[in-house]
């Protein structure tokens, strides 16, 4: 866990140095420290300072936080739904957000200025999640199967809606598609603050309920008989994990794979104990998504949609681990 934290700090500093204007890690570090104490600010290039503080750092931190948030939400969904195949989008967050964003894009809604699309995406995501939860609520225990089924139903309806909007959108369709594939370009400090708050709340909740989540993997009747209020814990964590996912999606678009693959990888490495798994997933997700965004931004000749890149990097790696585990048999 300490190693992961160091790795993340290193990735953040290196990623901030990389780009059109290349800066060594030591310069990045001095610029950051100059914010804390004036004694570091001697001899620093003011342009570089502006590039780092106003352009790169917000983007770097947003990418890291979204990565951490998605990986953590994925781990929580997998623990609640007792299904290692669940991800943060299982309850329809992504299709709700996509529908909201597509609606705002096609209708050219600008009532809220630059925030229109994210706000609509967020509203769409929340509406979808609450539709799913109320569908599944007939089952008072929020059983995994009811939730997954309700998620599939709502997602299917919304997908049809998105398809219809794309059909109507004509030449604007590329704008919608581009948004759906996700991007961290031109993120601001307010984005950072928003995702930071959501991520910290989720992490605290996950740590608070960590042992209950472990017990819940025994199944509803067993966890209830062990003193866990399973239905309530499920509901609280579903809402929190869905909220953090909705915030992430509204800030960055739909970035797949992180929420599925990172908890898996971490489970291979540190085991299934949610008290360690969830914070570790958060750190590892932040590292991976930041690395992917940095490669897309600074290394590749042309910026590749981040959602595509995460799948391209993560996919083969995942195959490797999966194959190794199968062969190892343990």
């Amino acid at each position: 866990m300490g190693g992961l934290a160091v790795l993340l700090a290193g990735t953040v500093i290196c990623a901030t140095g990389l780009g059109y204007i290349h800066m060594p890690a030591s310069e990045v570090l001095s610029i950051l420290l100059a914010r804390v104490s004036d004694s570091f600010s001697l001899g620093l290039d003011p342009t570089h300072q502006a590039v780092i503080m106003d352009v790169r750092l917000p983007r770097v931190l947003t990418a890291a936080l979204v990565g951490g948030a998605l990986a953590m939400a994925g781990a929580i969904f997998q623990a609640i739904l007792l299904n290692p195949l669940a991800d943060p989008y299982t309850l329809g967050v992504s299709s709700g957000a996509a529908f909201g964003a597509a609606l705002a894009l096609i209708a050219n809604l600008t009532t809220l200025g630059g925030y229109s699309v994210p706000m609509f995406a967020f509203a769409g995501a929340l509406a979808a999640v609450f539709a799913v939860l109320s569908l599944a609520a007939t089952d008072r225990n929020y059983a995994a199967n009811s939730l997954i089924l309700a998620g599939v139903i709502v997602s299917a309806i919304l997908s049809a809606g998105i398809g219809f909007i794309k059909y109507l959108a004509d030449e604007q369709v590329s704008v919608i598609i581009f948004w759906l594939m996700g991007s961290f370009a031109a993120r601001t400090w307010s984005n950072v603050a928003l995702v930071l708050v959501a991520t910290v709340i989720t992490l605290l909740a996950a740590l608070y309920y960590g042992r209950d989540l472990n017990i819940m993997s025994l199944g509803l009747r067993s966890s209830d008989s062990l003193g866990v209020d399973t239905a309530r814990t499920r509901k609280v964590l579903l809402v929190i994990a869905s909220l953090v996912t909705a915030v992430s999606v509204s800030v960055s678009g739909i970035i797949g794979f992180i929420g599925l693959i990172i908890p898996h990888l971490m489970r291979f490495i540190i085991g299934p104990d949610n008290r360690k798994l969830i914070p570790a997933s958060c750190l590892a997700g932040a590292c991976l998504l930041l690395a992917a965004d940095t490669i897309s931004r600074a290394v590749l000749p042309r910026e590749v949609p981040i959602g595509v890149l995460t799948a391209l990097i993560g996919g083969p790696f995942f195959c490797l681990i999966f194959k190794q585990k199968q062969l190892g048999g343990r």
Binding site: A79, L82, N83, P84, Y208, R211, N214, I215, S217, L218, G219, R221, S222, D224, S225, L226, G227, V228, D229, R267, G271, P272, D273, R330
Partner: protein, 259 residues
């Protein structure tokens, strides 16, 4: 003998459907109870009510003179442990992890298991002869091994009452016998109360002090195996031809079927 459960005019079910109708009886502490009846007769529902997983629609169920619904989940978890019928787990916890989960109601949030918790877990592992398995992954065990782990988890909960929902119905005979021996020891040696839904009538007859016979959601009778497991009653409930007799080899009341 102290009264453990007092059940009065209890009606309960799921949704609009009533499964149990107007049940009234009481259970005493320190006895081995068998719960029998055809599929769908309400055995699991009755166990769910005792565990506080289900609320009565009418009537009342009291545990130690207090309504089950008035206990918090954690309080109840320190009194009553459950061994479920089947058990699936998708995550690679070790056997030791799973058995330690039985200590959950005794360990405060954010605290680690104490030496006493570890001692109890060790003792239970020895009791069920699964010490060798403790570092294996639960997902890689056979059905019989897994079920012994789940019994161990419930025993580690260290409760005065143990509820089993057909806990051995999928097991080979040697595993079923060894689990029932452990339960009997808990009951006789440490004064635990066992309430077990049992499919096998001869197991019920051999191990139980008293048998609760349910049929179509109603209590037919409750009493010692000799009285409850009679050819007449069994014919009435299960529609089978059988004979009840004292079996000399086991020294127990047993049932022979016409095959």
């Amino acid at each position: 003998m102290t009264q453990l459960f007092a059940i009065k005019n209890l009606t309960a079910g799921y949704g609009a459907r009533d499964v149990l109708h107007d049940l009234s009886f009481s259970l005493d502490a320190g006895l081995f109870y068998g719960l029998i009846g055809p599929n769908g007769s309400g055995k699991t529902t009755l166990l769910d009510l005792m565990l506080g997983n289900l609320k009565p629609k009418l009537g009342a169920i009291c545990f130690n003179d207090r309504l089950v619904g008035q206990y918090t989940r954690r309080e109840l978890a320190r009194e009553i442990a459950l061994v479920p019928q089947d058990f699936r787990i998708n995550f690679d916890f070790t056997v030791l992890d799973v058995v330690m989960m039985g200590r959950h109601p005794h360990i405060p949030r954010f605290a680690n298991p104490t030496a006493r918790d570890r001692e109890i877990v060790d003792r239970v592992l020895t009791e069920l002869e699964i010490t060798d398995l403790q570092d294996r992954l639960i997902t890689h065990l056979s059905g019989g091994e897994k079920q012994r782990v789940i019994v161990a988890r419930a025993l580690a909960q260290d409760t005065p009452v143990l509820v089993l929902d057909e806990a051995t119905s999928n097991l080979d005979i040697q595993h079923s016998l060894s689990i029932f021996q452990v339960l009997k020891k808990r009951c006789r040696g440490q004064g635990a109360t066992i309430i077990a839904a049992i499919h096998d009538l001869n197991f019920a007859a051999a191990y139980c002090d008293a048998i609760i016979l349910l049929n179509q959601g109603r209590l037919l009778t409750i009493g010692p195996p000799r009285e409850v497991l009679s050819a007449d009653l069994l014919h009435q409930v299960f529609a089978i031809e059988c004979q009840a007799y004292e079996e000399p080899f086991s020294g127990a009341h047993q049932v022979a079927y016409r095959y």
